[in-house]
């Protein structure tokens, strides 16, 4: 971190509360757009409930389509918050400060989208989804089947959602006190209630600091378990043999981190463009996250490579059938090429250049590409994995997502955009107290003939 602008606490309040205390001109049209897409998706959902799942492209044997792709994709994006926030907090990385909250909030809304994609939409009859979790016949004592991944999934995802939400709320308390002190009337009463009477005593600050570290340490194992369990949804299934991979859990986790960290980088660029927070999110921050992405992407690519090595080494017919579909049959073959180039071969070599890492535009483009690729990766695991001809499958036709299905996919993306926009209107997206702490602990020191910024830490 070589670039640094020393700011007063008053300046920080003025800059970072612009999203809460004022409304930029673009905010209402942007919200309107997301609400419109969301409503179209909800209408499509209503139509599907009325007509049945036949209005989607789902059919034998492809029972999992775009909805499940979306579920796995958004669970992956949700790993952004914990990867950035928890790991960087625990390692005391200074560049985490302006991005932790945005990453955590992205986690919360992505998890909600994942829940919207799978239990709500995918099941077709969502009013029966509770039967996975709650006993469906008290009178006869028929309980849930805990051996089913559809019980593991809700327990892991709900634990992660609860933990992530509380993580965000606890870290918000000092910032709510700042808004309380800067607002009047009913708004002040609301923020005063939410701030719980926070005054900034040494005890309260100490507990805040410990909370950040302790909750990070507790949420990390949950984050690992969530995507492992999502991968076991695939790996423990009896039907699609090509999914019986022992490396699915770490492969899914590292893939989730790849797409999640990329999504955070995209969000950082959007925050600078939308609110002009370039004093807080500098090219140094983009440089740091791009370097992290090179490592994460390469680790993910290693697992992807291993999965192929294991498949080709064993030459199992089921594995080979799926690989042939992915690589040699249209449209999967060209989707496979697009996936490889967007997820790895275009962004990673570009991130090797300093100019790209420090450019808002190029970081936006490359990180969007990664998420296009990672969505396709899940699509290419799910659809070709199911649609191939195998034992007792008498109908192995292709799968084409219908317009109704695509409207519901768009709805889940719109939900994240809508949620993030509404959040920024009510709460600050950059943690003010964390930025202020960074400013207090900053100084400039002379080393030889240079004066460089330094961070003072206990």
């Amino acid at each position: 971190m070589q670039e640094h602008v020393q700011l007063t606490q008053k300046q920080i309040n003025e800059d970072l509360l612009t999203s809460v205390l004022g409304t930029p001109r673009w905010w209402w049209p942007a919200l309107g757009f997301f609400v419109l897409v969301f409503l179209i998706g909800m209408s499509a959902f209503g139509y599907m409930l009325n007509q049945g799942v036949g209005v989607t492209g789902l059919n034998r044997p492809v029972f999992w389509g775009a909805f499940m792709v979306n579920f796995v994709f958004f669970i992956g994006i949700s790993h952004a918050g914990i990867m950035i926030s928890a790991i960087l907090r625990l390692t005391q990385a200074e560049w985490r400060r302006p991005i932790t909250r945005a990453a955590e909030v992205l986690t919360v809304f992505s998890l909600m989208s994942a829940l919207m994609a799978a239990p709500l939409v995918h099941v077709g009859r969502p009013w029966r989804a509770d039967l996975w979790v709650f006993p469906y016949d008290f009178a006869r004592g028929v309980w849930i089947n805990i051996r089913s991944p559809f019980v593991w999934d809700p327990s892991a995802v709900m634990t992660y959602l609860t933990a992530s939400t509380l993580f965000v709320l606890i870290a918000l308390i000092p910032d709510l006190a700042i808004i309380r002190d800067r607002s009047t009337g009913l708004k002040r009463k609301l923020y005063a209630g939410m701030a719980l009477g926070f005054r900034g005593t040494p005890r309260q600050w100490k507990l805040q600091t410990i909370a950040g570290i302790l909750l990070s340490a507790l949420v990390l194992p949950v984050f690992v378990s969530v995507h492992s369990i999502v991968s076991w949804d695939f790996a423990v299934q009896i039907g699609p043999e090509a999914w019986h991979s022992t490396i699915f859990a770490p492969y899914f986790i590292i893939g989730a981190i790849h797409s999640g960290v990329s999504a955070v980088a995209t969000l950082m660029v959007v925050m600078v463009w939308a609110w002009g927070w370039n004093k807080y999110i500098t090219p140094d921050h983009l440089d740091a996250i791009a370097r992290l992405l090179i490592i994460v992407a390469t680790a993910w690519f290693f697992f992807f490579f291993l999965e192929w090595v294991f498949a080709l080494y064993t030459l199992e017919p089921a594995e080979m059938a799926m690989r042939k579909l992915q690589v040699f049959e249209s449209p999967w073959s060209w989707l496979f090429v697009v996936f490889l180039f967007t997820a790895y071969f275009i962004p990673v070599p570009m991130w090797l250049f300093r100019g790209v890492r420090r450019s808002l535009f190029w970081m936006f483009v490359t990180t969007i590409l990664v998420n296009v690729g990672m969505w396709l990766e899940r699509f290419l695991i799910i659809v070709p994995g199911l649609m191939r001809r195998s034992e007792f499958i008498f109908d192995w036709g292709s799968y084409h997502p219908s317009i109704i299905e695509l409207a519901m996919v768009a709805m889940t993306f719109a939900w994240v955009g809508m949620g993030m926009l509404v959040f920024t209107k009510v709460f600050p997206l950059i943690p003010l107290f964390d930025i202020k702490e960074g400013m207090v602990g900053r100084d400039e020191i002379r080393i030889g003939r240079r004066i460089v910024p330094a961070s003072i830490r206990e």
Partner: protein
């Protein structure tokens, strides 16, 4: 019969860390007890910046208790449901340990996290209904020192804070933040 009077508090605002630290020393040497004065800041400072005592807390007990509760709940749910509706399949043991471990693990972590959050709020002494002496400039960078004591002590407290270099002094009766 004596009536119990509510404590009164006064706050002095300081512009920089050194003056605030000296002021805190002056308050302590004037005979006020540790529990009677507090320092308020708009950002976390390293512990002991103002010469204040290290706050003692018991937060680490909370996740342990929560984890134990969560583990027990997970065990009861997974083992209890299988025992409540016993179905032996293929001569395999009734209790299926691997899926039980997954749900018990999630239960343990959920319990630990919920109790930790409760512990953070409790140990931070929140929610606080009455703000006492407080000034909104604290969240703008001013450092506040509050002295909470009997009404008779207030003139003395104000004098100490003024002499120590407070840029502003305010009394705060036990009013709510909702005023």
């Amino acid at each position: 019969m004596t009536t119990l009077k509510p404590p009164k508090s006064v706050i002095g605002l300081f512009e920089d860390e050194d003056t605030a630290a000296d002021a805190l020393d002056a308050v302590a040497s004037a005979g006020f007890e540790q529990k009677e004065y507090e320092i308020l800041t708009g950002t976390p400072y390293p512990e002991g910046t103002f010469g204040e005592e290290e706050p003692i807390h018991k937060l680490y007990r909370f996740p342990l208790i929560g984890a134990a509760c969560g583990f027990t709940a997970g065990l009861l749910l997974t083992a209890g449901t299988q025992l409540a509706y016993p179905l032996i399949v293929g001569g395999k043991p009734l209790l299926s340990i691997p899926p039980m471990a997954i749900i018990m693990y999630e239960g343990t972590m959920l319990g630990a996290i919920l109790f930790t959050v409760a512990g953070i709020i409790f140990e931070s002494r929140l929610p606080r209904l009455f703000m006492g002496a407080y000034d909104t400039r604290i969240t703008e960078g001013y450092i506040g020192i509050t002295i909470t004591s009997g009404e008779d002590e207030m003139p003395k407290a104000e004098e100490i804070l003024k002499k120590a270099g407070a840029v502003d002094i305010k009394r705060g009766w036990e009013q709510t933040d909702f005023d």
